[in-house]
């Protein structure tokens, strides 16, 4: 049994990270004030955060090298209201010296780990609900609102209620044509949209160890879709190698103690798992693809902070290369960062996908969050690799959004209906 420094009891990953950042042995249920390693905001939420920061009377941020704002939600600006918010963000960057990733750099949840800002053992907040993404590299990262972000900018600290933890064990090997997206959809379908509210997840399994770091981000990204505060994984060699390639910061990998206390343990046998689909209009409305029935689609989206990474596009290109997106169907690509887009070009993936009939938009959130770049029409069905299928999410309450893996979306583009990707792999 491994004991952590400063603690008298067996701890979960969340308890350990919140202990080391608050200077006290924290246990689930405690409220601690903790030091933050990195803070991010995006263009939907940072405008209000800047207003709150000014209301606080704060003159300086606590440490500009630990703060970034990423302009990704409406990028480039689709209207004058958003332009005014972008301008406010650019001015704040000049006033305070914080890092700014302006239009086209990519989505905050790719940029933040890719640019090396966060490493294992860190405590991170972001004014975006999918900040839980970095749990895949052993970071306790969680979404908060604009006012919390402003308080963090001013003080470098924030209060946290130390969460209890749900342990998720994926048992068995990942079947062919089934991906990390299917694993997380299966979990959310099983435990429902509020199954882990106020809890942190710790996610384990041979399949997790076997998959790439890119694929793991997809799972942690969607932890919020079952209400979880964080979606934590261990930092194995793959993670440490990935982090070393992206960051100069020193990682501090954190594992749970063997006798850590879990609020709940969920075991999922994945050895016979099929591709999973979340049907409109909630993410927990999940069915295996064989039970879906015939669903024609008019639009596909591959990208977003969930599935807009290089590996995702490689899988899509493998299926679509030399084939055509069916007539009457639109395929939109939204890479998660400029670096990914450059890598896609270098590998020839971009060309294969464009030749198959896809169109690409600026690396960013637009089509997923419904601000611009692909709003569906009334009555249309969309198959998307995003994390949410809420009514109106893509900008039209009369459209229907289905969620699946990049392979599922690519296969569906060929057939013009939601299709099982296994026959194409």
């Amino acid at each position: 049994m491994v004991k952590t420094t400063g603690s008298e009891r067996s701890q979960t990953i969340s308890e350990k990270i919140l202990s080391s950042h608050s200077g006290k042995a924290a246990k689930a249920g405690d409220i601690v004030v903790a030091d933050l390693d990195y803070l991010i905001g995006q263009d939907d939420t940072s405008g209000i955060a800047i207003d709150s920061f000014k209301k606080l009377g704060a003159k300086k941020v606590f440490d500009p090298s630990k703060i970034a704002i990423i302009v990704d939600h409406s990028s480039p600006s689709p209207n004058e209201g958003v332009s005014a918010i972008h301008k406010k963000i650019r001015e704040f960057h000049k006033e305070t010296g914080i890092k700014l990733y302006d239009i086209g750099c990519g989505i905050c949840h790719q940029i933040t780990p890719e640019q090396g800002h966060v490493v294992p053992g860190d405590l991170v907040i972001g004014a975006d609900s999918h900040t839980c993404t970095y749990g895949a590299i052993n970071v306790f990262s969680t979404g908060i609102g604009s006012t919390d972000l402003a308080a963090g900018w001013a003080s470098g600290k924030l209060w946290f209620k130390v969460p209890e933890t749900m342990r998720v064990n994926y048992n068995g090997d990942l079947p062919k044509g089934v991906f990390s997206k299917d694993l997380i959809l299966k979990l959310i379908g099983d435990i429902t949209a509020d199954g882990a509210t106020y809890l942190a997840l710790e996610i384990y399994g041979q399949a997790i160890s076997d998959m790439s770091v890119d694929a793991r981000f997809t799972i942690s990204n969607m932890a919020i879709e079952c209400g979880a505060k964080a979606g934590l994984m261990e930092a194995d060699k793959k993670v440490l190698d990935w982090v070393k390639a992206h960051s100069k910061k020193k990682p501090n990998p954190i594992s749970a103690d063997q006798d850590a206390k879990y609020a709940k343990i969920v075991n999922i046998d994945i050895s016979k798992l099929e591709p999973q689909i979340a049907k409109p209009h909630t993410v927990d409305n999940v069915v295996p693809i064989s039970k879906l029935g015939d669903v024609p689609v008019q639009q596909g989206l591959i990208g977003t902070c969930t599935n807009g990474r290089l590996e995702d596009f490689r899988i899509a290109a493998k299926i679509l290369k030399g084939k055509k997106v069916k007539d009457g169907v639109r395929l939109i690509l939204a890479p998660a960062s400029k670096q990914i887009l450059l890598d896609m070009i270098k590998e020839g993936i971009y060309q294969s996908l464009l030749e198959a009939g896809a169109v690409a938009v600026t690396p960013g959130c637009g089509p997923c969050v419904g601000t611009h770049n692909g709003v569906p029409s009334d009555g249309e069905n969309v198959i998307s690799t995003a994390n949410r299928n809420f009514k109106g999410r893509m900008g039209n309450t009369k459209a229907f959004i289905y969620l699946g893996s990049p392979a599922t979306v690519a296969a569906s583009m060929i057939e013009g209906k939601i299709a099982d990707p296994r026959k194409y792999l």
Binding site: D44, T197, G227
Partner: protein, 162 residues
């Protein structure tokens, strides 16, 4: 505070409360004009200042956008009573001073159009129409301090002055 009840179901997400297409402003009154639009397009013209929202489980799930509680507050909603709240919404509501109360019983039994009276300090929800009284889950002491101060910004300002 006293007002009329509007009922909503489970999983009322932040896109229903305020869709992303309206996040091109942070002016509370402009946000209020589109509040709950995708759940009920006519709600904004029907509701009156001081009304309550009573909803099911996981109210405010989805995005971290603080525009959601800001829009509800600016729309004149006195308080939200729900079976449960999503974590980020819960925190944001407290931070900006929108009263929220968790009570499964109240959420189950109170009907649309009922008149209710709420005492936040006591956590008491009185249904004037049916004469029933419910008690909400109490907040932890730290959050009570935040609520009493009128949100996080005021709390920090007050603690600085001390």
């Amino acid at each position: 505070m006293q007002g009329k009840v509007w009922k909503f179901g489970d999983n009322i997400d932040t896109d229903l409360i305020i869709p992303a297409r309206y996040l091109n402003t942070s002016d509370p009154s402009e946000l209020a004009e589109h509040c709950m639009e995708d759940a009920d397009p006519n709600w904004v013209s029907k509701k009156e200042k001081g009304d309550f929202i009573v909803a099911g489980e996981n109210f405010g799930c989805g995005s971290s956008r603080e525009h959601a509680p800001i829009a509800l507050k600016a729309a004149g909603v006195s308080a939200i009573i729900a079976k449960s709240f999503a974590r980020i919404f819960y925190r944001n509501a407290i931070n900006i001073g929108l009263p929220i109360m968790e009570s499964e019983e109240a959420a189950n039994e109170i009907k649309e159009g009922d008149k209710i009276e709420v005492d936040l300090a006591k956590g008491e929800i009185k249904n004037v129409s049916s004469k029933m009284i419910y008690y909400a889950q109490p907040f932890p002491p730290f959050m009570q301090k935040l609520i009493k101060a009128g949100g996080l910004i005021n709390y920090i300002k007050k603690s600085k002055r001390r």
